[in-house]
Amino acid sequence: MIGKLNQSEQVLLETLQKTGADELAADFAKTGLPTRRNEAYHYSDLKMLLGDVPDLTTGAISTSVPLLNIEGAYRILIVNGEVQISDEPPTGVIVSTSRGGVVEPENDIVAQLNSALTKETLNIDLQGTVETIIHIDRRYEGEASHINDGVELYILDGSNATIIESFSGSNEAHLSNSASKVILGRDAKVTHIMVDLSGGRVRHLQSVQYEINESALLHSLIIHKGSALARTQLFAKFIGENAHADFAGLILGAKEQHSDISINIEHNVANTTSSENYKSVVLDKAKAIFQGKILVARDAQKTDAAMKHQGLMLSDDAQILVKPELEIYADDVICGHGATCGQIDMDSLFYLMSRGIEKEQAKSMLIRAFLAELFDEIKIEALKEALISVADEWLEV
């Protein structure tokens, strides 16, 4: 079978073998990277898209200036997979590291690769009402390299926390494969934001897992802006009743970027609710992909889930591909999805211009208006401003 692997897969296989991940190597030799025949990767055929796999990183080096500054946040760096804790954590925040990677979700080769190749995982336990924003600054620095890193967050019963993870670094053709696992205890209230600000040559793969316990409240937001190829797969499991989660995301795509957000939401118990609200704005030849899968288990009565994707196409050569999927085994549920895709509304543009506003500014105003809803959900002003400026910078390019 090895003969069928392409160059990138060969390198990945050798990397696994050198690391001593024999079992996974044996599997990988048979399967290789996911292709379009794999439903989850239907629009992101990694065998075709991934490109050259650089050498595994040799570890941390000096870092570039942070791309995202959040006022008053407690910042932890992970540079080329190495956790760097410099400041004393705020009260209620327990920071440690553990060897190896985050336990991967079932049967996903990208997450398995990450788990096998990550040397250390950043563990953060959050207890009580943590007012300070936790900023996990994940960097991919230096020459092009293959970097794996992992974060596990545990928000204890009854605790509140706001965490933002940013992905950025040098403008080289890195392959970054990252994992985050967030466990929400009972009654935990969590805002978890992930922003990809990587350079335009980076291939960024990301796996996010949520475990949502009883009465917990989650607000999750993913923003894709930087990488040439970005794919975030999200796996969320409701495992306690009366919990609610708002899943949101935004793809800002330009040039020839390929950006994919694929979510898998499992309502496994009764009386849980979720909303899925994703948007894509694409220009040039960019491609945005949203796949949304909601599973409602047989016992998950009274589930209420509403998914939507809204696309804004700013050029004729851009593409937005959307695939919703509902898999419902319970009978007493409310579950729906909707998708819209449009261009800048010409009547609105004319109205703004008729008051003297220049076309480019008027367009920006309308794009901002399209995005406003996602940012309005963020209640912490410093965070909201930081994210709006991420979008504003994109609009100015």
């Binding site: 609105s348 211009m353 008051r355």
Partner: protein, 251 residues
């Protein structure tokens, strides 16, 4: 140059259908003219073509604003040259705050005149005083642009914009429709307050009533894509009495 607006033999097609069939209209500086005409006769089309909306093909003729042909200009360029259209149906734009919009519009015009951006306190003061004159509730200004505004509120908001932008050529497309009697008086006062020797107005309406409040210098009858008769304000009364039928033979 004593004419603010000169429209000469204007022919306009929309999707291959000729809507305007040779409009001639001259408005001297400081004058207020009214256009009255049947539904579908092309009044809004004329106002959109003046403002520069896409999708209208001018096959013949020209529009001069203060002596300058504006047909090749973008809508924003026309606006900064002093043209303002109060829309028959103002557009709702969710996600754009009314105040953000007003400030962007005012600053765009200042930028075109080579002036500094407005300072926030000055901007607030100007908006407040204009809103007060038009009896616009400040809560309305905190909402997204025109979103959830009643029909009458939208029309008032248009006049508010006009009061802030101080254009020299104002076009009102059925600004009176949707206004109750009190609102009509308030809006008319707002418009009259802006009348002066260097500002001209074109009022498109179906009702003579508005013209009792904003008294025009000239009234034009619009039929089937052009002006078929012009006269003084008594023409509006005559139209109210006899309708448009007598002008139909010109079709």
């Amino acid at each position: 140059m004593s004419n603010m607006l000169e429209i000469k033999d204007l022919h306009v097609k929309v999707e291959d259908k000729e809507i305007l069939k040779g409009v001639n209209l001259t408005i001297p500086k400081g004058e207020t003219h009214a256009i009255m005409g049947r539904n579908g006769s092309g009044k809004s089309t004329l106002s959109y073509v003046m403002a520069g909306k896409e999708g209208y093909e001018v096959t013949k003729g020209e529009i001069l604003l203060d002596g300058e042909n504006i047909l090749e200009l973008e809508p924003n360029e026309r606006a900064v040259k002093g043209l303002f259209l109060a829309f028959q149906y103002p557009i709702e734009i969710p996600g754009v705050a009314t105040m953000t919009f007003l400030k962007a519009a005012m600053n765009a015009q200042r930028k075109a005149r080579g002036e500094e951006e407005l300072l926030t306190p000055d901007f607030m003061r100007e908006v407040k005083s204009a809103a007060k004159m038009l009896e616009i509730d400040s809560a309305m200004l905190k909402r997204a642009l025109n979103v959830g505004f009643s029909g009458g509120e939208k029309k008032r908001a248009e006049i508010l914009q006009m009061a802030l932008l101080k254009p020299k050529m104002c076009v009102f497309d059925e600004t009176d429709s949707g206004l109750d009697i009190d609102a009509l008086k308030i809006v008319s006062q707002g418009v009259n307050a802006l009348r002066d020797a260097n500002r001209s107005m074109l009022i498109i309406t179906h009702y003579q009533r508005l013209l009792n409040y904003i008294v025009p210098d000239v009234v034009h009858v619009f039929s089937n894509g052009r002006i078929v008769k012009s006269g003084d304000k008594s023409l509006a009364l005559e139209l109210e009495e006899h309708g448009y039928a007598q002008y139909d033979e010109s079709i």
